[in-house]
């Protein structure tokens, strides 16, 4: 436990130098950076408080806007619901009208289809009847039947009404007119001469006659005096009956 004065004084000096060194190179820089950081933190805190206040204000504004928008939305929804209901009513009315029109159209179409179907059935029936009649009459078509039809032709020519006779005479007045006589069977000379005589009586003058055989007539005659045609055969009679039936249907 020795005491050394030089060491004592040197230690005092050394310590004071060390105080200066640490103050210069440790305390001041460290406290400076801490103070700068603290100032930065306080500035950041102030900014954060300011931003928080602004955010709170914005939040209140936002809430007010949201409330206002909510009311506007509610009003708009109510208006939209009313418009939708009105539009729905209008569309439903239009739809009902369309449905009624469509139903009426379908009904008319069905009726027309039924009429068409009925007519088709009738026409088919008439056609079948005509076909059956034609087949039956073709088997009955004989020279004898044609002789009866010849007599019927003459009877018709004799029994023409006065206006018909005038019409036939007017038709025959055309210059260069040639009468055409078609028959299912060949006409003998006696009947030809008689027919020419009767036609001359009806037309009022003797006209040249062209005879032609047409088996499609089945039995009977077709006399053409210009535009005037006299039918006295089974084919045309069948057609006449079929047409009459169709028109009657």
């Amino acid at each position: 436990m020795d005491f050394d004065w030089p060491t004592f004084f040197l230690e005092i000096i050394n310590f004071l130098i060390l105080v200066w060194i640490l103050k210069r190179f440790l305390y001041r820089p460290i406290l400076g950076v801490v103070a700068r950081r603290r100032a930065g933190i306080e500035k950041a805190m102030a900014d954060a408080r300011r931003i928080e206040a602004e955010a709170r204000e914005l939040r209140q504004q936002n809430e007010r806007c949201l409330a206002q928008w909510g009311e506007e939305k509610e009003a708009a929804q109510t208006r939209l619901r009313e418009e939708l209901a009105a539009e729905r009513e209008r569309l439903m009315a239009g739809l009902e009208i369309s449905v009624a029109e469509e139903r009426e159209r379908r009904r008319v179409l069905d009726e027309r289809q039924q009429v068409e179907f009925k007519r088709a059935i009738e026409e088919q029936g008439i056609a079948q009847g005509a076909a059956f009649s034609a087949r039956l009459l073709s088997r009955l078509a004989t020279p004898e039947l044609e002789a009866r039809l010849y007599a019927l032709l003459l009877e018709d020519l004799h029994s023409l009404r006065a206006e018909d006779k005038r019409a036939v005479a007017d038709a025959a007045a055309a210059p260069g007119l040639q009468l055409k006589v078609q028959s299912a069977f060949a006409l003998d000379e006696g009947r030809r001469a008689e027919l020419v005589r009767v036609l001359a009586e009806v037309t009022g003058k003797a006209l040249p006659v062209e005879y032609r055989k047409n088996p499609e007539l089945l039995a009977g005659f077709q006399v053409s005096i210009g535009p005037w045609v006299l039918h006295a055969n089974l084919r045309d009679e069948l057609k006449f009956f079929s047409g009459a039936l169709r028109h009657a249907g």
Partner: protein, 228 residues
Amino acid sequence: MEAATIWFHIGPFAVTSIVVTTWGIMLALGVFCWLATRNLALDPGPLQAMLEGMVSAMEESICAVLPDRAQQLLPFIGTLWIYIVFANLVGVIPRLHAPTGNLSVTAGLALLVFLSVHWYGVRNEGLRRYLKHYLSPSPILLPFHLLSEVTRTVALAVRLFGNIMSLEMAAMLILLVAGLLAPVPLLMLHIVESLVQAYIFGMLALIYVAGAMQSQQNLERDEKGNEQ
């Protein structure tokens, strides 16, 4: 304990190994602090965080005693703590002796504390008001105040010197008696004791300085107590 060896002389002063060791500590601390605080950043790294934590802890300790004087007292009190810690711990290194195991060193530190107490007291309170506190609460107590100033300064020096010197001596004795690794637990105790003694020395110095700086407040409190 062998006496400190004289390395060389500077004029009339003989420079001993203790002083050289102190210079080494000063150089190491200075260089380290210069390197560590060259590029301080607001986003600190591990070393800067450690230094900031250490300085802040010392500042807060001073604040706990003298809330408004931390910046003023930090260089002196903080340097006491730092220097005494390193001066104590140097003794752990083989072939080196702790400077604080020498009474000349601790007496020098205690004298600095003694002077700084009056320096801060006069500077803070003014000479008259500062000296007046020696007469408080009664002039009869003046000799005891003066005696207290001397004894607490001597106690500061002897306490630190005695603890560190005894630790080094105990470690040396155990080394001589028990062998190479036997003093290791004692050296660990030396580390703890070094930290504790540095803290005690610095805190006592702080309390003494705080007492001097708050002497006027103490005086007014005593006068108010007498009036009541």
